[in-house]
């Protein structure tokens, strides 16, 4: 089976390709931007396309040309397997079947794509969270140092004060620390000016 992946995100496409390795005899090609001639020359049985690829409309228009005739998988899978099409849309994956491939053979491909898209999403979220955690920890350290310097507190007392502020305001510790630093900068700016 030949699978063409159209995805502007190469890292995500690499994940999908890796996942497809376990499925069945496959030939996989990835295009970041759809090239009609290249796509037709490859002759895919299935086209997997990211919902955030602007090339989807072009791909869909190929239905009208005679040599390549992709039918949206959404159309026929829905009838036999309710829910799969909806799940795919929500996961940000669309698939087109070019020839008369049986739905049962498309399903594993679509499932791999969906799970890999979800995995990529999770990785991105984790990365953002890790960045935010790191930034928050840095703010807390700097705010502690500020309190120690300006209020003559020891580290433990400075931390307790921040914790109290955080609880009183019902805001995360990192956010309170960032506020404190921002205000300190403004006050310092005024003093300088």
């Amino acid at each position: 089976m030949r699978v063409l992946i159209v995805d502007p995100d190469p890292a995500r496409a690499a994940l999908v390709i890796e996942g497809l390795g376990g499925v069945q005899p496959l030939q996989v090609r990835h295009l970041t931007v759809l090239d009609e001639q290249e796509a037709v020359a490859f002759g895919p049985d299935v086209v997997v396309v990211a919902a955030d690829s602007p090339d989807r409309d072009t791909l869909e228009s190929l239905r009208e040309s005679s040599h390549a005739n992709p039918r949206p998988v959404v159309m026929f899978v829905d009838r036999s397997e309710p829910g799969l099409a909806e799940e795919a849309v929500r996961a940000g994956v669309a698939a087109y079947v070019v020839g008369g491939l049986a739905p049962a053979r498309v399903r594993p491909v679509l499932e791999v794509a969906m799970s890999r898209f979800a995995l990529m999403n999770q990785l991105r979220l984790d990365l953002e969270k890790a960045k935010a955690d790191l930034a928050s920890r840095k703010s807390v350290e700097r705010a502690k140092a500020l309190l120690m310097r300006e209020r003559g507190l020891d580290e433990e007392a400075a931390y307790r004060l921040l914790r109290k502020l955080s609880m009183d305001k019902g805001r995360p510790l990192g956010a309170v620390a960032a506020d404190l630093l921002a205000f300190a900068d403004i006050l310092k700016g005024e003093a300088d000016g």
Partner: protein
């Protein structure tokens, strides 16, 4: 259905009523909590509407009809009770076609004799005013849009680039992408929807078949907020601020500033689709790319474009 509504749009000037309604508080003034999401393709908008992943969206009028008829997806009961705009679609041709002062039929004949491939034009989607306009315009110029040229589909934002690299010789898309291509020097606007087919249906606001569709008060509130936003966007005194709102990275980005003059070509109009415009579009769809037979198409059009009751 959560309290929050999620509406989708594509980066085009005719999405302005949505963007303005959100950013200038016309939705919130009517107690509507709305989030907007920019989408990358019309097919994705259609699919998301079909499964309720979007509650409503900026949509090509003929695509709303095709989706109802089950073209390329399960039939879905979306409704499009109001238009968003008039004008803004245009046909833009490569400057290369001007070189010898030849007419289009002469170009077609010349390329055929020289054994070159046909002229290639791009539209934004098969079920779109842009496809119908281009085909009618070519036919009127003496070029057979089916046999004499190749018509392909490309995203509006990529038209200028495709024209510049020679992949296409012309395109029909919404603003600001025509003026943006013209400003870069590679192309010239040849004709506008406002001259070719005044009052033609272009974009509509479509509601998904979600629980929202059965809450007539909320539907009416969304439409009223869009009407307020369109009135605001039409007002000349708000032009500079409108350009700012459209230029944000979440909306269209910098092209909204560089091609802001294209706003002069569009009239924002949130209103029921005029029956004669619906009839004309249905006729064009049947001529240039039917999704179903005539009776079924006319019947579906009367359901999709019916006003809110």
């Amino acid at each position: 259905m959560a309290d929050h509504l999620l509406f989708g749009f594509l980066p085009l000037f005719d999405a302005a009523p949505l963007i303005v309604a959100k950013d200038k508080g016309f939705f919130s003034a009517r107690d509507l909590k709305v989030d907007l999401r920019r989408e990358a393709s019309w097919a994705t908008v259609r699919d998301k509407l079909a499964v309720g992943a979007l509650d409503g969206a900026h949509l090509l009028a003929p695509l709303a009809l095709a989706a109802r008829l089950g073209d390329a997806s399960e039939p879905n009961r979306l409704i499009a009770p109001v238009t968003l705009n008039e004008g803004g679609a245009a046909i833009t041709l490569s400057r290369r076609l001007e070189v010898d002062g030849l007419t289009l039929p002469q170009h077609v004949a010349g390329r055929r004799e020289a054994g070159l491939g046909p002229l290639t034009f791009a539209v934004v989607y098969p079920h779109a005013l842009h496809n119908y306009l281009l085909r009618d315009w070519l036919a009127a110029a003496g070029v057979d849009p089916v046999n004499d040229v190749r018509i392909t589909v490309a995203p509006p934002a990529r038209m200028g680039e495709l024209l510049e690299c020679g992949a296409i010789d012309g395109f029909c898309a919404g603003e600001p992408w025509n003026l943006a291509a013209q400003a870069s020097g590679v192309a010239k606007v040849a004709a506008r929807a406002s001259q070719l087919q005044p009052g033609a249906l272009d974009k509509v606001f479509a509601f998904a078949d979600s629980p929202l569709q059965r809450q007539s008060d909320r539907l009416a509130a969304v439409v009223a907020a869009l009407e307020d936003a369109a009135a605001w966007a039409r007002h000349p005194a708000n032009r500079a601020e409108l350009v700012c709102l459209l230029s944000t990275p979440e909306a269209l980005g910098p092209v909204a500033t560089t091609a802001s003059a294209a706003l002069d070509e569009i009239r924002f109009a949130v209103a029921q689709a005029p029956p004669q415009a619906v009839a004309r579009q249905t006729e064009q769809m049947l001529r240039w790319g039917a999704a179903a037979g005539p009776e079924q198409t006319v019947e579906a059009a009367s359901q999709v474009f019916a006003p809110l009751t």
